[in-house]
């Protein structure tokens, strides 16, 4: 949430006029939006998608969608919240498109041998990267971006229970891979 606020405050002064200019097709205004949000959009996409190339495509598709659908933004919430929702949908759409690579069970089986070679402790980046794509997407959207299970379920076209179960499985895996010791 801190990141989102920082991004919105970047545009706070003239967000309204920038949006108005994008609505009438001003490419310079679209570039202002792009420069303001490219890093958080790419970060979200890269945390959800498996490859940099997929994340770059999501970045591009997000801003094209922003240009096309800016008329639907009513200004009743932070602009970043709206852009982030577009980006999340695009990233999840990309996951669905690549689903042949992301059947969780198959993914887990494919990585079972490698998992035995996993060092006792992994860093968080590596552990996150290692999660199946759907689980990783749920972790990121819920724990970092702050979406509820209901919102994630709607975006993924699944049930809230599915989202909860994915989050729970993901945290169990992260805990094991991170080799977390008792805190006492």
């Amino acid at each position: 949430m801190t990141k989102a606020l920082a991004v919105d405050s970047y545009l706070a002064g003239d967000a309204e006029s920038v949006v108005a200019r994008v609505r009438v097709g001003d490419p310079a205004a679209l570039e202002i939006l792009y420069r303001a949000y490219e890093a958080p959009v790419f970060n979200l996409a890269r945390r959800i998608c498996r490859t940099v190339e997929d994340a770059e495509d999501v970045l591009q598709e997000t801003f094209f969608e922003v240009y096309r659908s800016i008329g639907q933004y009513r200004g009743d919430g932070p602009l970043w919240g709206w852009v982030r929702r577009v980006a999340s949908s695009k990233a999840l759409m990309r996951l669905r498109r690549n689903k042949y690579r992301d059947t969780d069970e198959l993914f887990d089986e494919a990585h079972a041998v490698r998992r035995e070679d996993t060092p006792l402790r992994m860093d968080l980046e590596a552990a996150l990267e290692r999660l199946p794509e759907t689980s990783r997407a749920v972790v990121w959207l819920h724990d970092v971006e702050g979406y509820t299970h209901e919102e994630i379920a709607e975006m993924m076209d699944r049930t809230p229970s599915f989202s909860k179960s994915q989050l729970s499985r993901a945290h169990a895996k992260l805990r094991a891979w991170l080799g977390e010791e008792a805190l006492t």
């Binding site: 801190t2 990141k3 009438v24 097709g25 001003d26 490419p27 679209l30 570039e31 792009y34 420069r35 490219e38 890093a39 958080p40 790419f42 970060n43 890269r46 945390r47 940099v52 994340a55 770059e56 970045l59 591009q60 801003f63 094209f64 240009y67 096309r68 968080l124 980046e125 996150l128 972790v139 990121w140 724990d143 970092v144 909860k164 179960s165 989050l167 729970s168 499985r169 945290h171 169990a172 992260l174 805990r175 991170l178 977390e180 008792a182 805190l183 006492t184």
Partner: protein, 200 residues
């Protein structure tokens, strides 16, 4: 004593909004292992939120802008019923895009032919756009005039260069024709932006 599952611990994190979280919360109060596990969960989430922001390795705005221009042209051509030109514009975008991405071809003469064809397609598009536009505002007139002046200068340079048609000079023509295509592309864009803004 049965310890909490990960799902129950996650529910405790959002106490009040999850069914059964009150019981789990009470359990955490009396079970040091589960309390420690909940702390680990909080810390893990905090570390996730503190991960550095990943930045795109290259600037993709040019690609976004090209797609927006393409979309705007398609929309304009659809609205004005210039179907064949819509197709030509699509093909042109594909060609220009390919030229931007691909390494230079070995044969300068082939490249020159391609660029000249692109220029001809844009000329045709401009003629259609101009014939369908009734009103032009001051900004469009100024921007278009500046581009047209430079195109006229280029045409003069091309005319002089084309007087000498040796193979060497053909490769010198290529950058001039490319610049012409770039200017024509910008000119089409100026007219289409105006059309978009007035809702044509």
């Amino acid at each position: 004593m049965m310890h909490l599952t990960m799902e129950q611990l996650l529910a405790v994190r959002h106490a009040g909004s999850e069914p059964g979280s009150a019981e789990s919360q009470a359990h955490v109060q009396v079970c040091p292992e589960c309390a420690a596990e909940l702390d680990r969960l909080h810390q893990r989430v905090a570390r996730l939120r503190a991960l550095p922001t990943l930045r795109p390795p290259r600037d993709r705005f040019a690609a976004v802008a090209a797609r927006v221009r393409h979309d705007r042209r398609q929309l304009y051509f659809r609205r004005t019923g210039i179907g064949a030109l819509a197709l030509a514009a699509s093909l042109l975008l594909a060609v220009v895009g390919r030229d931007l991405m691909a390494p230079p071809a070995a044969n300068a003469s082939d490249q020159l032919t391609t660029v000249m064809a692109e220029s001809a397609t844009l000329e045709q598009a401009l003629r259609q756009i101009r014939s369908s536009q009734q009103v032009t505002d001051a900004y469009t007139t100024r921007a278009a005039a500046s581009l047209e002046d430079r195109i006229a200068e280029l045409d003069h340079e091309l005319e002089s260069a084309q007087m000498q048609t040796s193979p060497a000079t053909r490769s010198e023509l290529l950058p001039l024709w490319r610049e012409r295509v770039g200017l024509m592309d910008a000119l089409v864009d100026v007219h289409l932006t105006r059309a978009h803004n007035v809702g044509l």
